[in-house]
């Protein structure tokens, strides 16, 4: 006897845990009198059991450590990026203002070079901008493409573009009172998002850029 597809459909529905009581009754009634379907049903159940067996499918012992050592630890930066993404206009304006006030226009084309907005007393060592002990930087500081280490003090805000604030405890950027020990103002990060903001701002900035170059041919 050739059984209707309906019965086989009910078998699958049973395995998907979606049978109604009525369907359950139809299926078991049929199975009681049809050996072919019994076999079919048994094979389907066995397939599910074998394929769902998880007893030997486990990760290596180092799995968690491996993941944890590969995730970026500094979430502060990520929330900064999130903020920028949600405030594109403000971001563009902020970066533009930043460029205007910090006077680092001329170095903008040299992509990978470390630049710093104030030079007095500040030292650049292998890609790291260092404010040595006993040096007090008067005013805001902008560092691009380099990390910043402050042994002395900065009397103003700090903005890091494509760089990190190097601290004794590298797991997180200094905040609050801890930050006050180095910097009197705010610590801002502008990282990869810079390119994105740049893309949106470039037409606008581009004009000023060429004006600026004409005025101060460095």
């Amino acid at each position: 006897m050739r059984c209707e597809k309906d019965i086989i459909y009910l078998m699958h529905k049973y395995l998907d845990e979606a049978l109604t009581d009525e369907e359950q009754r139809i299926l078991s009634n049929h199975l009681q009198r049809c050996e072919d379907c019994q076999r079919h049903f048994h094979e389907l159940k066995r397939t599910d059991t074998l394929a769902s067996d998880k007893s030997k499918i486990t990760t290596s012992r180092s799995f968690t450590d491996s993941v944890m050592s590969n995730i970026p630890q500094n979430k502060n930066r990520a929330s900064w990026l999130g903020w920028f993404r949600h405030h594109p206009l403000v971001s563009a304006a902020a970066v533009f203002m930043l460029l205007m006030v910090s006077g680092i226009f001329s170095a903008w084309n040299q992509d990978s070079q470390v630049t710093v907005s104030k030079q007095e007393g500040v030292v650049i060592e292998e890609g790291t901008v260092v404010v040595p002990k006993d040096v007090v930087v008067d005013g805001d500081l902008v560092v691009r493409n380099g990390d910043l280490r402050v042994d002395g003090h900065i009397d103003g805000d700090v903005t890091l573009i494509n760089g990190q604030f190097i601290d004794d405890d590298p797991s997180e950027a200094p905040e609050g009172e801890e930050l006050q020990a180095y910097v009197s103002g705010e610590l801002n990060y502008v990282n990869q998002i810079f390119e994105w903001v740049w893309y949106h701002a470039k037409n606008f900035v581009g004009e000023v850029f060429s004006m600026q170059e004409k005025e101060s041919p460095e």
Partner: protein
């Protein structure tokens, strides 16, 4: 459990990266199961599963906390694995046998560790065979049925993970199960 996970997610979002460790511990074997069943290779599955967690971490801001975290995570894992399968060279299917052997390696090793009785060794061969047959399924059936074999998601949730209608999910599970049944009925 979902409540504890949600708390951990909040902590991670606040900046406590270490809170992510509990999330990894809890879901690692589930994510690994999805990757391994789909790709059929131990090492690749481990890489994909790790990548899935790293992506989940970096994109956590985009996770809507009103939704179920597991389905979101499984979606990342499944998409990564589907991508990997697609990028494989055309000789992938010729490779299937070697891939199956790869699955066996793990069991061989276990057999050596525990000096299993003969009956269970047969069982180990069966495991390798099952995996080979699952990996031989066309990818469109494979992702759906593997999520079903995880035995944790409803059909509705599977449809959310894969972004396909529930009807399609059902049809593909039934079709995939029938294909596997014919392959496994004599072993």
């Amino acid at each position: 459990m979902e409540t504890i996970i949600k708390e951990r997610i909040k902590e991670v979002k606040k900046g406590n990266a270490q809170a992510f460790e509990d999330i990894v511990s809890f879901y690692q074997n589930k994510v690994y199961f999805i990757c391994f069943r789909m790709i059929g290779n131990k090492q690749e599955a481990e890489d994909l599963a790790q990548e899935a967690f790293i992506r989940a971490y970096t994109n956590l801001d985009s996770f809507d906390e009103r939704r179920k975290f597991s389905t979101w995570l499984y979606r990342i894992a499944t998409n990564l694995t589907i991508d990997r399968i697609r990028k494989k060279k055309p000789d992938y299917y010729l490779d299937a046998e070697i891939r199956g052997t790869d699955g066996l390696d793990m069991y061989d090793q276990l057999a050596m560790d525990e000096a299993l009785p003969e009956e269970q060794v047969e069982n180990l061969e069966l495991r390798g065979y099952i995996q080979t047959e699952i990996t031989a399924l066309p990818p469109k059936y494979r992702s759906v049925i593997v999520l079903r074999f995880l035995e944790e998601l409803s059909l509705q949730e599977i449809s959310e993970v894969l972004d396909m209608p529930v009807g399609t999910v059902k049809t593909r599970i039934h079709r995939g199960r029938e294909i596997l049944r014919t392959k496994l009925r004599h072993v």
